[in-house]
């Protein structure tokens, strides 16, 4: 019998389809993937160590740089964790503004996922569609925080400033157009025969594997587990909103793709409800100038970020800086299944699987 030699092919770290600094080493036998070894750390900044030398407020902008494509979500998670430590309740208006900003971030992040999957699989126009629509969200972020990507608009105890004139109308018109955008993504890509051939049955992640490997977010839901922290352990005011949890059935790349598109629609529904119910009022709770949580206090707080369960674990020793801060990064843990879902497939599947797992390396490497 003829046996193919085992050889390795490197994907990344400087390859556009690896979404920024991901190095996957594919162990191949002929055209078939035997294993994938993932090398991380190309964008490691030691964020957790930096946190120990910054005050609680000073660390806020660092969190925005974890998931720079959904910037309000990691900031929201961090600020809520500190508020939990201090026992601060934020005003109603802030809660609603935060929900709108968080869901806009989720949509922007999913649109990037859609764009990136498009360009990775050769659908260049798909990239343009996603980026075009996301730019409207970036415009909204510039209105509130003064810049597109890393605005750190959410602060401990509230938000930086009240929403400006024109914000409500910009968000309303964006939300109104969401169904049209979803139809376009579906029309251009989802139904396409080549698209289906590249995605269907590729990178199947079973329910059991997804749970035991700690996969969360859209990737878990695509495997058929209706688990969303916004429903399971609602933070902020998420228990007041009416929305569905989209799930997939087989857990292949196509399911992960479809779940993300469906989630854009659900986020739109949440924003619509938030716009209707947002009250007037204060935009900041009373927060001490020097934040000193009680000594020995510790808390683990998690939110549903666009990538999955984003958790912060903070330990206080009574000082002005965190004694220990740990980020439970969903991308880091989701990437663990890349070898699992690639094994037995062909080389091109690695590109599809990385794209549909949608990792962000700023968060996974920290």
């Amino acid at each position: 019998m003829f046996e193919a030699d085992i050889y390795t092919v490197n994907v990344g770290p400087v390859h556009p389809s690896t979404h920024g600094g991901l190095h996957a080493e594919a162990v191949m036998s002929g055209e078939i993937i035997q294993d994938v070894i993932v090398h991380l750390g190309y964008v490691h900044r030691s964020v957790e160590k930096i946190a120990e030398s910054k005050t609680y407020q000073q660390f806020t902008p660092y969190t925005a740089r974890l998931d720079y494509l959904a910037t309000n979500l990691p900031v929201l998670g961090y600020c809520q964790t500190v508020e939990k430590l201090l026992g601060i309740e934020v005003p109603e208006r802030v809660e609603y503004i935060r929900v709108i900003m968080a869901e806009l971030s989720r949509i922007a992040s999913h649109q990037i996922a859609i764009s990136a999957t498009g360009i990775d699989l050769g659908a260049t126009t798909g990239l343009m569609y996603g980026m075009r629509d996301r730019e409207r969200i970036m415009d909204i972020f510039s209105m509130t925080g003064g810049q597109r990507l890393l605005s750190s608009y959410i602060r401990i105890g509230g938000v930086a400033e009240d929403i400006p004139d024109g914000f409500i109308s910009a968000v309303t018109s964006f939300v109104k157009d969401i169904p049209k955008m979803m139809r376009e993504y579906d029309g251009l890509m989802t139904g396409n025969e080549i698209w289906q051939a590249r995605m269907k049955g590729v990178g199947i992640l079973s329910k059991e594997d997804a749970i035991s490997y700690g996969v969360t977010g859209p990737n878990l839901r695509a495997s058929g587990v209706p688990y969303d922290i916004r429903k399971a352990e609602p933070y902020g005011i998420y228990d007041r909103f009416d929305f569905e949890i989209p799930v997939g059935c087989v857990g292949d790349s196509l399911d992960r793709w479809n779940v993300r598109i469906a989630e854009i629609g659900e986020s739109g529904r949440i924003i619509k409800q938030a716009l209707v119910n947002m009250p007037d009022g204060e935009i900041k709770a009373k927060v001490p100038k020097v934040i000193k949580p009680e000594a020995g206090m510790e808390v683990y707080h998690r939110i549903e970020s666009s990538k999955g369960e984003l958790g912060y674990y903070i330990v206080s020793d009574g000082g002005t800086k965190p004694y220990r801060l740990h980020v439970r990064a969903p991308s880091f843990i989701n990437l663990m299944v890349l070898p699992v879902i690639c094994r037995g497939g062909v080389f091109q599947d690695i590109i599809t699987n990385i794209a549909t797992l949608d990792p962000i390396l700023g968060e996974s490497d920290r």
Partner: protein, 147 residues
């Protein structure tokens, strides 16, 4: 669904006696476990109480001792629990949970990489974020930062 915390506490106490201690916490049911019983406690939590989602593994440097912190959730029952264990600094080693939850793989590698705690029974305990030839473990409090 609210979890019957008193029942769990009592059952765990009956089973592991003084090897397990309830710790006061405002937010979560929390236990400190002796490290030689860690695997047994975790096994019971998964098999008997359905904690199938090991969400978070991390560690804290308390000088003489390191503390390992595990946050567990049950996806179907929607319960949560926090388990801690301690290991002395001069022999920083605990059992790996890889056999119970495969997600412990990279999370324990990260703890090893940044805090320098080794995990007995881990299949591939190598650095995950830092380069292989890096010396030291940056999250230890005695790590010297030069800039």
């Amino acid at each position: 669904m609210a979890m019957d915390t008193e029942k769990i506490t009592e059952e765990l106490k009956n089973r592991f006696h003084d090897k397990i201690t309830l710790q006061e916490d405002k937010f979560i049911l929390k236990f400190l476990v002796e490290k030689d019983e860690l695997l047994n406690v975790m096994g019971v939590l998964k098999e008997t109480y359905g904690f199938n989602h090991l969400a978070n593994v991390t560690s804290v440097d308390y000088g003489e001792e390191f503390e390992l912190v595990y946050h567990l959730y049950s996806i179907p029952e929607n319960h949560k629990i926090c388990i801690k264990t301690r290991t002395p600094r001069n022999s920083a080693q605990v059992d790996s949970l890889f056999g119970i939850w495969p997600t412990a793989d990279w999370q324990e590698r990260e703890v090893y990489d940044l805090m320098g705690i080794t995990f007995k029974g881990h299949p591939n305990l190598v650095r995950v974020l830092l380069p292989d030839d890096f010396t030291g473990h940056p999250l230890r409090k005695d790590f010297v930062m030069k800039g």
